[in-house]
């Protein structure tokens, strides 16, 4: 296993060396774009919390939003349906966990915010305000007992929520995977 990884890395280096172009070789048709003009698309949230926008929300507000915008796919109480279950945390028991409860499985809370903001609700993605996304995160995390019921989540504390499956993952190809220092 390590041998083939090492070989693949060697090939990468060889290919890069052979193909490296100098800037003068390329057509230079890209137009410069400012951080301001990129802002609407620059939505990824990293595990460290980098990218979290201003705003805040708690579970009580989150429950109201959930009941109007999320129940259709995720069930009245987050038990899942067409969409994955969100509430009902339990430990991972083996490979039959096809519909593992999201909060019980994700290593980082940042993923919850990122995915809700970029893709939910299914029928109208990007329609939630940042406050609403924080509130939904609080509803899901408190429903799973991972934060107190009255906790207000915001940009400075969301990434600090420790997820129960934080150390549940094994990097499949360590030599092909750049090291990352997760918070």
């Amino acid at each position: 296993m390590y041998m083939r990884e090492a070989l693949a890395v060697v090939l990468v280096v060889v290919a890069f060396g052979a193909r490296a172009a100098t800037p003068a070789d390329t057509p230079h048709l890209g137009k410069a774009i400012s951080a301001e003009d990129l802002a609407e698309w620059n939505i990824d949230i990293l595990p460290s919390g980098k990218g979290l926008p201003p705003g805040s929300g708690d579970a009580a507000e989150g429950k109201k939003i959930y009941r109007t915008k999320c129940v259709g796919c995720h069930g009245l109480n987050g038990e899942g349906g067409l969409g994955p279950p969100l509430i009902g945390n339990h430990p991972i028991r083996g490979i039959d966990e096809g519909t593992i409860v999201l909060a019980g499985y994700l290593p980082f809370s940042s993923t919850l915010f990122d995915e809700i903001r970029r893709a939910m609700p299914w029928q109208s993605p990007r329609s939630l305000t940042n406050d609403e996304v924080y509130a939904l995160c609080a509803f899901i995390l408190s429903g799973n007992g991972l934060i107190p019921k009255d906790k207000v989540l915001n940009a400075s504390n969301l990434a600090e929520v420790r997820m129960p499956n934080r150390h549940g993952f094994i990097v499949r190809f360590p030599k092909l995977t750049p090291r990352f220092d997760a918070p």
Binding site: F16, N42, L82, G94, I95, P107, T111
Partner: protein, 441 residues
């Protein structure tokens, strides 16, 4: 007995098996005296076929034919060569379509039947309004339009694309009786044409702190994955064409990321944004959907590479061998690491093996078609294929694979794929009646 049959019997009597249960040397293909039984034209040496009838003019030879359509589609008589759909009514959930690999030949997947998975429907993107940006840990963030990218030096290459969840039904505790399309149809192979990502990164410059890049689509899920930056320097490119024509809407029109050999979901379709970063973003698709739960309660993450794999497409479940005789075993092999070096076939459940012939020169990270002649004596047989790539990676036996990755407790839905990256040796059992079953051997 006619002269043709006599000649064939003589030819068979000269054949020397190279492995147990009737496997013949791969070069026996070149023996023109042999007639192979195939899916389309079953013929055999025994029993002798009835003599042919007198020829007559068929009706289509007596009238003028139809007009030429601007874009041709297959004959109505080939209307069974289509994808199977997991979500035909576009309910609010993932949609999958599987490629009919058991009805195709060669190594190129026609665009109309290339497998497609979309997580919230196929977006309707106007290429004139599509924008693509690279930013993050770069010297200068840049934006390109489709028309800009078409002015760059384009490259073409073959590449298979395989969903990480392809062959997931093989995790079932008992073999699911289903055809190649249902079991293994989430893989296809095409010639992709586009702009190497490394060229665009030359123009943006790269901050030395960058170790990963995030790729994001313009579809409703805004699907995003983290990719190690070395792949951009290696062979990643932004594809605009698929088998010579603009990308199909289900495969990423107007542009997609192609990461040869990597898990399909990472090869982001409808690509609109690449951001260089120093840590992976842990998107939903890399922190949940495409992780691989293990028997010990942990899970694999960042299973980038689709490892060496092969399966026999003929004979396979759904076909029937009409009578004992000579057949051509055929199938597909590929490896996300590089080229296929060899494929071995067994007709006795892995007790003995013979080398298959490979069509043409195997291409890196692309389908390789293998074939071998087989004389079925009418008794039970178990057909297996085992591929080895240029780095010596070999498909594991099912026993070895399952010991590490586990087996499900209950039979899963054919349409679901909670488990991924199955690449163990697969087996087709042949009964004395010529019926074919998925078996664990």
């Amino acid at each position: 007995m006619g002269m043709r049959e006599e000649l064939q019997k003589k030819a068979v009597s000269r054949l020397v098996p190279v492995a147990g249960n009737g496997l013949l040397h791969r070069r026996e293909f070149l023996n023109r005296a042999l007639t192979f039984a195939t899916a389309a034209t079953a013929s055999s040496l025994v029993p002798t076929r009835a003599s042919a009838e007198a020829l007559t003019e068929p009706k289509w030879s007596l009238v003028n034919g139809g007009p030429i359509p601007p874009y041709q589609t297959p004959s109505k008589y080939a209307s069974n060569v289509v994808r199977t759909l997991a979500n035909p009514y576009n309910l609010p959930k993932v949609s999958q379509s599987r490629t009919p690999l058991h009805l195709l030949e060669g190594t190129f997947t026609p665009n109309g039947v290339h497998f497609t998975i979309v997580h919230a429907g196929i977006p309707d993107i106007d290429p004139a309004q599509h924008r693509f940006v690279i930013h993050g840990l770069v010297r200068q963030a840049l934006e390109w339009r489709v028309e800009d990218l078409l002015r760059y030096p384009l490259v073409s290459r073959l590449a298979f694309i395989e969903c990480g969840g392809n062959s997931a039904p093989m995790f079932s505790p008992t073999p699911i009786q289903a055809n190649v399309q249902a079991l293994h149809g989430l893989v296809s192979c095409a010639e992709w044409t586009g702009v190497p990502l490394s060229i665009l990164l030359e123009e943006t410059g790269i901050d030395p702190r960058a170790k990963w890049f995030i790729a994001e689509g313009a579809d409703a899920p805004h699907l995003a994955r983290s990719v190690p930056l070395w792949k951009a320097h290696d062979d990643a490119f932004i594809a605009l064409y698929q088998n010579g024509e603009p990308l199909m809407p289900g495969n990423g029109y107007p542009m997609r990321l192609v990461l040869p050999g990597f898990e399909g979901n990472m090869q982001v379709k409808y690509l609109r944004r690449i951001k260089l970063v120093d840590e992976p973003m842990m998107s939903y698709y890399e922190a949940q959907v495409y992780t691989e739960p293990l028997p010990n309660g942990k899970a694999y993450q960042f299973y980038f590479i689709n490892e060496v794999k092969s399966f026999i497409t003929y004979p396979s479940y759904g076909f029937k061998l009409p009578f004992p005789g000579l057949y051509q075993i055929s199938g597909l092999a590929y490896s996300g690491y590089g080229r296929i070096r060899r494929v071995e076939i067994s007709a006795d459940g892995g007790k003995s093996w013979a080398k298959a012939a490979l069509d043409g020169v195997p291409r890196s990270k692309a389908f390789t078609r293998f074939r071998i002649p087989w004389h079925w004596n009418g008794g039970p047989a178990i057909l297996q294929s085992k591929a080895v790539d240029e780095f010596g990676n070999e498909q594991p036996t099912r026993a070895r694979f399952v010991a590490q990755r586990g087996e499900l407790a209950t039979v899963p839905s054919l349409m679901a794929f909670p488990n991924h990256h199955f690449n163990a040796v697969m087996s087709w059992g042949i009964s004395p009646k010529g019926e074919i079953a998925n078996v664990y051997a």
